[in-house]
Symmetry: C2
Subunit: 173 residues, 2 copies
DNA sequence: TTATAATTGTTATGGACCATACCAAATATT
DNA sequence: AATATTTGGTATGGTCCATAACAATTATAA
C-alpha cells in the first residue's frame, strides 16, 4: 500500500498530518473513519441491499436467476393471465425495459407470451411447466440458503421487524 | 416512481346519468397480488432504498448533491489528507469511476486535489471552504428534512434498530 | 546501482439498468 | 368515421459499475 514511511517522516507540516497515535505500526494503513456516514440511512441501506443481492445471486447461481427475473416469475405465477404492462408496472419496471427481460425468460422456456383473445394488442403471461419447476426450485434455494441466512443473523423476530419497517419505508416514505 | 394507475378511471361521481360507461362485467380489482414477493428481503430492500434515495435527492435539490457526492464530502471532511484511492475504496467506488465524480466536485469548487509531497503519484483530497460550507448546509438539510422523516415514520427507537440491522447485514452477510 | 514490479490517477470501453420518445397494430372514444 | 388511447416493441441516451491498459512515480530485487 502507500505507507511505508509516511508517518515517520521527520519533517511534517504542522497541523496537516499526524492526527495522533503513531508511535508504532506505521506500516499499516490506518482505516478511515466512517464518521456520520455510518448513521446515514441511505448509505447503510444501499450497502445492505448490495450485499443481499450479491448473496441472492450466489444462492441462485445454479438456476441463473437474477432478483428481477425471480420477481417476475413469482408475480406471473401468482397472477396468471395478466399482460406485460400489468406485471411490469407492478414491479416498477418500465414497459420498454421489460421486453428484453421477458425475451430472456421466454428464450429459456420459463415463461410464455400468449396473444389475448379479448384484446389482441396484449400479451398474456404464463409460466411454462419448466418455469414452474424452476421457480419451485428457486423458492427452495431462497428459503434454505438466502432467507435462512437472515434468520441466523438477525433472529426470526428481528427479521420480521426489519421487513415491516422496510415495507413501511417503501410504501409511505 | 412508477405506481399503478388503475382505479382512476372509475373515479366518477356515482349517480351520474347512465352513459355507456364501463361494463361492470369485467372483474373489478385490477390490483395484482404481490404474494411471496412482499416477503422477499431483497425486493423490499431495493424498493425502500429507491424511495430513500429519491427523498434524499428531493431534500438536496437546492444543493444539487447526490447521495454519492454527499458521502464523499462527509468522508473527506472526516479524513483529511487521504488520497483518492483510500476515499474511493472506503466507499466501494472503483478508482476509475471515482475520477468523474471528483472532477464534478472539484469543478464546483467543493473539494480539491493536492499533489502529495511524499508520494507524487497520489492526490490528497481536501474540502474547500465552500465545500465545508455546503456540506454543513447539506447536513442540516439531511437532518431536518430527511432523517427526521424517518423518525416520524418509524419512531426513534425503531429507526435505530433498523440502522443496526442494516449495518449488520452490510457487514456480515 | 539498475532492472523489475507495484501503485496512483487516468482514459477508454463495455455491460447492466433506467428513462424518454416514438412507432404500428389494435382498441376505445367521440 | 375520425380521433384518441393502449399495448408491445424499437431506438436511443444517461448513469452506474467493472475491466483493461497506460504514463508517471515509487518500491523492490538482482
Amino acid at each position: 500500500m502507500n505507507v511505508s514511511k509516511t508517518a515517520e517522516k521527520s519533517s511534517e507540516k504542522p497541523g496537516d498530518a499526524a492526527k495522533g497515535r503513531k508511535d508504532v505500526a506505521e506500516v499499516l494503513p490506518e482505516a478511515l473513519q466512517l464518521g456520520e456516514l455510518s448513521e446515514q440511512l441511505g448509505y447503510v441501506l444501499k450497502r445492505a441491499q448490495l450485499k443481499v443481492f450479491e448473496n441472492f445471486l450466489r444462492c441462485m447461481a445454479s438456476l441463473q436467476l437474477t432478483p428481477a427475473q425471480f420477481s417476475v416469475l413469482l408475480l406471473v405465477e401468482k397472477n396468471p393471465g395478466r399482460n406485460q404492462t400489468e406485471i411490469a408496472s407492478t414491479l416498477g419496471i418500465l414497459r420498454p425495459n421489460f421486453v428484453a427481460l421477458l425475451d430472456n425468460l421466454e428464450s429459456r422456456d420459463l415463461c410464455a407470451r400468449i396473444r389475448s383473445t379479448n384484446d389482441r394488442r396484449s400479451h398474456i403471461l404464463v409460466l411454462t411447466d419448466k418455469g414452474k419447476a424452476v421457480l419451485a426450485r428457486a423458492k427452495k434455494l431462497v428459503a434454505t440458503k438466502h432467507e435462512a441466512r437472515l434468520n441466523e443473523l438477525l433472529g426470526q423476530a428481528n427479521r420480521e421487524a426489519l421487513l415491516e419497517m422496510l415495507s413501511k419505508i417503501a410504501n409511505e416514505f
